[in-house]
Amino acid sequence: MYYFYANLKDLIQFIRNNYIFSSMINNFCSFYLIPMQSNFICFEDISLIFPEIFFGMSILMLIFHGVLLSANKVYPLIQKSIINISILLLFFIFILVFNNTIIDHFSFFNNTIILDPLALYTKQLILLAAMICLLSIVNYLEYQKINSFEYIILILFAIFGLVLLCSSNDLITSYLAIELQSLSFYLLATFKKNSIFSTESGLKYFILGALSSSLFLFGSSLVYGTIGTTNFEDYKDLFFYSYNEIKFFESTYYLNLLQLGFLFITLSLFFKLALAPFHVWSPDVYEGSLTSSTIFFAIIPKLSLFCLLVRIFQSNFCDFIIYWRYYFVIIALLSIIVGSFAGLEQRKIKSLIAYSSISHMGYALLAYSSGTIEGIQALFCYLIIYMLSGICLWTIFLMIKFKNNFNNKGNKDLSDFILLNKTNTLVSIIFSTVILSLAGFPPLIGFYVKLNIFLTVIESSIYFAAIIGIICSVISTFYYIRLIKVLYFESGIVGNLYISISYIFSLILTSCFYLLVILFFHTNFIYLYSFNMSFF
């Protein structure tokens, strides 16, 4: 056994030495006359990880601040101020991340953390989305009478984990980041202690999430046992240029064991993404937990989880595409079918959006399973638009609040939106626009990204998947259009009265609406953005 590992180490060293187009590290090292080693840590690294360090330190300071103030006997209301401080904090981190864009591709801290366009742009998107979500949950928290500063700090912890996950280049780092994110999500789901639904959904989320985390650990232990490293750079060195030599690799490695390990890792990632055979938790959790938590579950983590998936399978494990491609296609198709057929049955709007998000994740995975650069570009285009329309949809959902006090329920049926057109015309126009964009109607950006996905899938000649995807897209249009029918044409005798919208909500809504319309005519911006993300 020892002899086997020794051989492998030699192989890694050999590949490293003959690696002509090596990464920027070598140039950097030779430029600064630093001895070239794979495992050294210099002071330069700390300046590159500065946004994360700032984030962690300021979370600690925020906890200190909150604890000191809330231990006061006067019980000052610090919820709103903490939300404002954390939005400011996220803005500062956004600037710090923006400041790092000078560097092209650099991995540091013993290659466990990477900075490349993918990481930088996903971080920026996540921070922006988190800022908008934090802005939009202020009124809801007041309405639900949640007055503990820990809620906001848990959200910050989740965003910290997601930001770390974007730039993780190591199985250990990515596991820790996923744990940080998902632990705070379990807590966010079960935060309202006096509600049975919230507690139940938190417990469900916890048990299934723990199962998927343990699957991730098991898979990474198998991978480590097979090839003796957890680092993605080493995987890149071992597997990236080995397309012609797969037979050789089959004789050298326990290839089946390696595939089993990667299978477990993908299973756990699919659990987190709520793709079709592993989706059962998501409608329940979305339904039961607070809407201010659900907005975070629905919008933010998908992008960084897909970032990790792309990192594992595109940059490291790409040459084994013949092994994993059709499984990915099957799972994507299954989730598209489940999302579009089970959504027809839903009466609650939250679980409707949950099923719609399952089908959207299916489309994104379908784009990724084409295995080309265009596929990755289509995937990130789709995810950006998904986040944008998700923010708009959930903001409307958070904002619409009945004027009569007795109807104190948090969750809404479809029938609660009856005749929204009469009470608030502009909101109903924006709502229907977002829904049409999600369904993929032509004068909106949702059409373009969906078209892009089907084009890439057809170009990589997976025709049956494209056909099934298009048919299911048409079927899922039914429940999107039914929402519009409820908004405009439902013949209710009495409509509902809603509380008027605050300034911030209207700002978010109108900007999202303009983006959804204008991006259709100026697609360059989003294409350029995702193009940068796809070359990493």
Binding site: G56, Y75, F109, E150, F157, T173, L180, F191
Partner: protein, 194 residues
């Protein structure tokens, strides 16, 4: 067959069966004890794999802290348990045997580690530096520390954040400012008299 290999198989097979019994057991307290036994067996496994520090940490943390916590939680719940006070004297010789064994092992360890000093026969000067050990000798704990604080320092810090998050979550889920939130308050008398 090698003796090490035989022990390895023994430990791993008994770990497997033990875990089966933990899951399938009816009485939850028995399954907790089986869990403790499982940790002890895995300690033996880790000793065979020559990672002594991890083995001892298994005993200290998993058996000493986590399983005891589980036991505490299960006893807090309303489960039917028998009074085990009558059987205390039955195990008395066995307990004492264990204590003597432990004492004997401690004495042997002390006797073997403190080498005699050849230059001074005093008890106070009974340490001896073996320079061969000092030359290239890194213990398990030392090695772990060297790797953890240099190569994986970021991961170590993230782990600290994770633990902080766990504490924060536990406080946020249990602590409430208005006492009347829960109708069923915890009554200590009921729990003690159970």
């Amino acid at each position: 067959m090698n003796f090490d290999l035989a022990l390895l198989f023994l430990f791993s097979i008994s770990i497997l069966f033990n875990s089966l019994f933990i899951v399938a057991g009816i009485n939850s307290i028995y399954s907790i004890f089986l869990l403790v036994f499982n940790f002890a067996l895995s300690t033996g496994l880790l000793f065979l794999l020559e990672s002594e520090f991890m083995a001892l940490i298994f005993i200290i943390i998993y058996v000493g802290a986590i399983s005891v916590l589980f036991l505490f939680v299960i006893i807090m719940l309303d489960l039917k348990t028998q009074n085990s006070f009558k059987t205390l004297y039955k195990f008395f010789p066995f307990n004492n045997l264990l204590v003597f064994l432990f004492l004997f092992s401690i004495f042997t360890v002390i006797y073997n580690t403190f080498d005699k000093n050849y230059y001074n026969n005093n008890f106070l000067f009974n340490f001896n530096i073996n320079w061969l050990y000092k030359l290239d000798y890194v213990t398990d704990l030392n090695l772990l520390g060297q790797i953890l604080y240099t190569h994986y320092v970021v991961q170590f810090l993230i782990l600290g954040m994770l633990l902080l998050l766990a504490v924060l979550g536990a406080v946020a889920l249990t602590y409430s400012k208005n006492k009347c939130l829960y109708k069923n308050n915890q009554s200590t008398f009921k729990q003690v008299s159970r």
